[in-house]
Symmetry: C2
DNA sequence: TCCGAATGTGGGAGCGCTCTCACCACATGG
DNA sequence: CCATGTGGTGAGAGCGCTCCCACATTCGGA
């Protein structure tokens, strides 16, 4: 009469997926023992463990995440929050690197990556609700702007969070992974000055992103250290088109520039385009330094001198940090800062002093 | 004595998140009525509905997905399966476009995107288990190779699935979204022939991907239709470096080529590099046609003639298709094929017949 | 010999939700 | 007047799992 036992299980498939109860029966143990055998196997006799293991294979058993999650209050997934407005920005390989890296960190864990891409205002509230709703065990936030209040909100909410890139407000104890952007900018300045360039222009990143601000400050400091005068500064949006536009403005203000620092490789590409469009040569007339060491561009005919940013590694570290934060909520995690390195290529070569 | 009522709720945060029971109490209705009010509100009096709505706001109530999922057998998330081996390939903006598009399709739904990136053999089995385990309501599979048996396995498993790109085995009734790659290849051939190029080389994509094969076949057909002889064919891996390598092989076999079709823009970039490296000019000596209409390269100095592939749109369509498949499992969905269009730019200009 | 402690096991409760069902009130029709 | 809906409601079961607790067994030391 207990014939209703063959319930639905998996919605779509033919046969219903076996439950823990089924597994226990097949293994000849109780539900409790089966559960213990699956999770770490403490206080389980070798025989019972073996029986359960065998039954798992035989039945193709997979624990029901929802049921487990309901009681453990762990979802087994983390969110990658990307608060960027449009597809254009997504094309930036930075995101590809972040996704790859975070995924890499999750390998071996049975955690899954949930992508949370939120747009303007209203949508970000929805994202926030989702995050606070306990649907994920933690979050990695990336590419945030000053206007976003992720750091504050998440910091106070108690949800384990790691930022990629220094957040504007560091007072909330939220750990982050970042590049030494200041030093990167400084290296660029020192290098350009070292090759004899003296009239330096800047295509900075968005003023509401810490990475852009730090790069700019380092660059300025480097220029001062070299005893040069900082030239004009124009802000771009990290895209190629934005870099080209910024460069046009730059050269219309100061046509005699012989060196430009762009705060991203994509923008540097735009700068080079503009320089060439004006009938000048890179690097003979104008040297260009980028930032990111973007692999797509490395293969490009003219090598681009740039500052290395190990994005994948940084993302991996962020993922690992988050896992630690989830597993050990009390531990106070320190920010991780990667050193910046300059890669010299063709775009800053051959200037006859 | 029922004072244990204030249980944990959300693991991390201070206050526990309210349950449906709390909500019902606050609204002065029963749990059942509250549930109905939340889900569609059929057979709920306006007063009750209003009371529940107010309570939701007041308490900041969010339904517990796990609990809901446990009984509905719907997880409210779909998987994006990317069976690519390494980060290098992830840099291809194709993936960025797919992610953006699918996410776009999910907007408005309360579905979430789970990223499943699997590597070689073993790992793909894990992915497969995850998919069959009922952890997601559906899957979008992208960039599959012939060796993968996703189409077969998923097709028979009953999990709603949509492919981006035609799968090798179409017999399983799995719907897909694709570009008319054949026509795209044909357009490229017709265009090159039309500009007077006669000695045509090919940098094809990986032979185990349908998109590459279809492009190659269309290209060959176009060459034949133009009354020309197909030149040498070398296979690349869709990356810039791969394209450059392939082009080297190509030109060592047939140095006199005056036109090359590369099955992706990234490879076309590599081809151009190689051509220039050999001291020849694009397009004067060698015309190059790419494939994808990759936005990153559009801004490049020399415009690349290419075949448009509306990747974001295609991904949106795939997402919508999947949602329909999930909501209406019986419906037989048809593949959607986008037309290919040629975009003529500088890389195929100015050949003096 | 007997008593903890350690080790292994199974029963039961309960996580927060949906859904079936019984029920009530009131309308409508014979 | 009673049969038959019909909109609205609430109690109760149960989804598959983990965890607490009670219980059985074994082992070491007093």
């Amino acid at each position: 009469m207990n014939e209703k036992s063959r319930r639905s299980g998996l919605l779509h498939a033919g046969r219903p997926s076996p439950t823990l109860e089924d597994l226990a029966t097949a293994a000849g143990v109780s539900r409790s023992t089966a559960s213990r055998a699956i999770n770490g196997g403490l206080k389980v006799s070798p025989e019972a463990q073996a029986a359960v293991d065998a039954a798992i294979v035989a039945l193709g058993y997979t624990p029901n995440r929802a049921a487990r999650s309901l009681v453990t209050r762990r979802t087994g997934s983390i969110a990658l929050v990307i608060p960027e407005p449009d597809a254009r920005v997504m094309m930036d390989p930075f995101f590809a690197a972040v996704i790859t890296g975070v995924n890499e960190a999750l390998r071996g864990t049975d955690m899954q990556l949930v992508l949370l891409m939120s747009r303007a205002g209203d949508d970000s509230a929805r994202t926030m609700r989702y995050l606070r709703g306990g649907h994920v065990d933690g979050a990695i936030v990336v590419s945030f702007h000053e206007a976003d209040d992720w750091a504050e909100t998440l910091g106070t909410t108690g949800l384990p969070t790691v930022f990629i890139g220094r957040p504007w407000a560091t007072g909330f104890g939220v750990p982050y992974v970042d590049l030494d952007n200041f030093e990167g900018g400084r290296l660029a300045a020192r290098h350009l000055a070292g090759t004899g360039r003296t009239r330096l222009g800047t295509v900075a990143g968005p003023a509401d992103m810490t990475a852009a601000v730090d790069r700019l400050e380092g660059w300025m400091q480097g220029i001062r250290e070299a005893g040069l005068q900082p030239g004009p500064v124009v802000h771009g949006d990290f895209t190629t088109a934005g870099g080209a536009d910024a460069a046009r403005t730059l050269f219309s203000e100061a046509p005699e520039l012989d060196g430009v620092f762009a705060a991203s490789d994509l923008m540097a590409l735009g700068v080079i385009d503009t320089v060439r469009g004006r009938g000048h040569k890179v690097p003979e007339d104008v040297a260009v330094v980028g930032f990111d060491n973007h692999s797509l561009l490395a293969a490009n005919g003219l090598g681009l001198t740039t500052v290395t940013q190990p994005m994948v590694d940084m993302a991996v570290t962020a993922g690992q940090l988050l896992i630690r934060a989830i597993e050990n909520p009390e531990e106070q995690l320190e920010p991780v800062i990667y050193p910046a390195e300059l890669v010299v290529r063709g775009s800053t070569a051959g200037h006859s002093r």
